[in-house]
């Protein structure tokens, strides 16, 4: 691929815009011939460039995606005619928190923590796309391991999952969180 007048950053933006699902810098490299290291540098810049815009670059693990700015959710949901308010039960949020902070983990590991059967809750979170199968555990029966998804990052309006507060920090603020 000759890049005489090519602008790799612009190309990466086009690819992110047009991709049907989150893409990795490896996939961008395959489509452009640009080195992964350079792509990562551009991705960082793109993230910066779009920080104040209506389109944002978000990341989950190795994967990147353009999404709408979370603070515009109300207007966007109005245009799309979609319900914004979540209907996750306390039990579902609890399970989601366990998965977010302990991923990857199996269903029986979730149940070990919650002390109750969590079959239908896990199923519900899977259907909603907030969690997904991320592998198999190398133990008897090779049980499925679960982790959070890009939808999870979007659902919480984050740039990246790492921006969730640490579990240890959360337990310090007893009352504060309630008043939010």
């Amino acid at each position: 691929m000759t890049t005489e007048t090519k602008n790799p950053k612009s190309i990466i933006e086009s690819l992110l815009f047009v991709a049907e699902k989150p893409i990795s810098s490896k996939e961008i490299a395959d489509a452009t011939g640009v080195m992964v290291g350079e792509i990562q540098r551009h991705l960082k810049e793109i993230e910066e460039d779009f920080r104040e815009r209506g389109i944002r670059l978000i990341r989950k693990g190795e994967y990147f995606s353009f999404v709408t700015a979370p603070e515009n959710a109300k207007e966007v949901s109005l245009l799309l005619n979609e319900e914004l308010r979540h209907d996750l039960s306390t039990a579902a949020l609890e399970t989601l928190a366990i998965i977010a902070y302990k991923q990857p983990l199996t269903r029986s590991e979730i149940e070990e923590i919650r002390g109750v059967n969590s079959d239908s809750i896990v199923r519900n979170l899977l259907i909603r796309g907030l969690i997904a199968e991320v592998g198999r555990k190398e133990t008897v029966g090779k049980p499925i391991m679960y982790g959070t998804t890009m939808e999870f990052v979007q659902f919480f309006g984050l740039d990246k999952e790492e921006n969730l507060p640490k579990l240890s920090e959360l337990s310090l603020f007893e009352e504060n969180t309630e008043s939010q």
Partner: protein
């Protein structure tokens, strides 16, 4: 937020934690001993499936051990001590996740969420069928998926058909048992129990009745059967 759930506990840990938090206690052995009574009371009111109640009963047994230790010092065994420490640890961990869930709820209530592009795919769609697949293969895949989906449903209905056993029911049963034969043995009371959780319910009922001074239990030798007799 907690008041709504008061009636419906997600499990024994949830119940334990809410009792501890209601009393504004820390997670310690002393707190656990304190709320044992309230915990047993809640179990007594439960009318769920016995398989679900069994989870609650296992924890109840641990609480009763802590309580008994308080009343009769010197009965500790290393193994049981470890189990108690383990229970405290599990409660602390569970509490941390409950706080995280509450925080998640707070984050979501801001309604700040990102959306992906909805536009139709920009590419001109080109018909690209999967390789090495014919209609028979496609139908085989379909059958497999539908079978898998069907398998997941009956499980839940099965549980519901199990017999329900409550503490109160068992207490009444034991009382009739004693009334009829004045004195009876622990073994003969247990004889009617079919499942592990039945046994635990029976045992808990006996403990509760001792506490309420409704019955008296005597044992002639270590590991021998107990004699159960009425006090009223």
């Amino acid at each position: 937020m907690y008041s709504v759930r008061d009636e419906q506990f997600e499990g024994p840990l949830d119940l334990l934690l809410s009792l501890i938090e209601k009393e504004k206690l820390d997670i310690t052995q002393i707190s656990l001993a304190k709320i044992t009574g309230a915990y047993l009371e809640k179990i007594g009111e439960m009318t769920g499936e016995s398989s679900e109640i069994a989870d609650f009963l296992l924890i109840a047994a641990k609480l009763l051990y802590i309580k008994s230790k308080e009343l009769i010092p010197g009965v500790e065994t290393a193994e049981e001590e470890e189990e108690i420490a383990d229970l405290e640890e599990r409660l602390r961990e569970y509490q941390a996740y409950k706080k995280a869930a509450l925080h998640f709820d707070g984050m979501l209530s801001t309604l700040n969420r990102s959306f992906t592009k909805r536009g139709k795919p920009e590419v001109v769609t080109t018909f690209s069928p999967p390789k090495d697949l014919d209609s028979a293969g496609l139908f085989a895949i379909f059958s497999e998926v539908m079978n898998k989906a069907a398998e997941e449903i009956p499980e839940q209905t099965e549980i519901k058909t199990e017999k329900k056993v409550t503490l109160e029911e068992r207490r009444t049963e034991i009382l009739t048992h004693i009334k009829n034969s004045k004195k009876t043995s622990f073994r003969s009371i247990l004889a009617s129990s079919r499942t592990k959780s039945d046994v635990i319910v029976t045992f808990l009922a006996i403990l509760e009745m001792i506490k309420q001074r409704e019955i008296k239990v005597e044992q002639d030798a270590n590991f021998a059967d107990f004699t159960v007799s009425g006090l009223r």
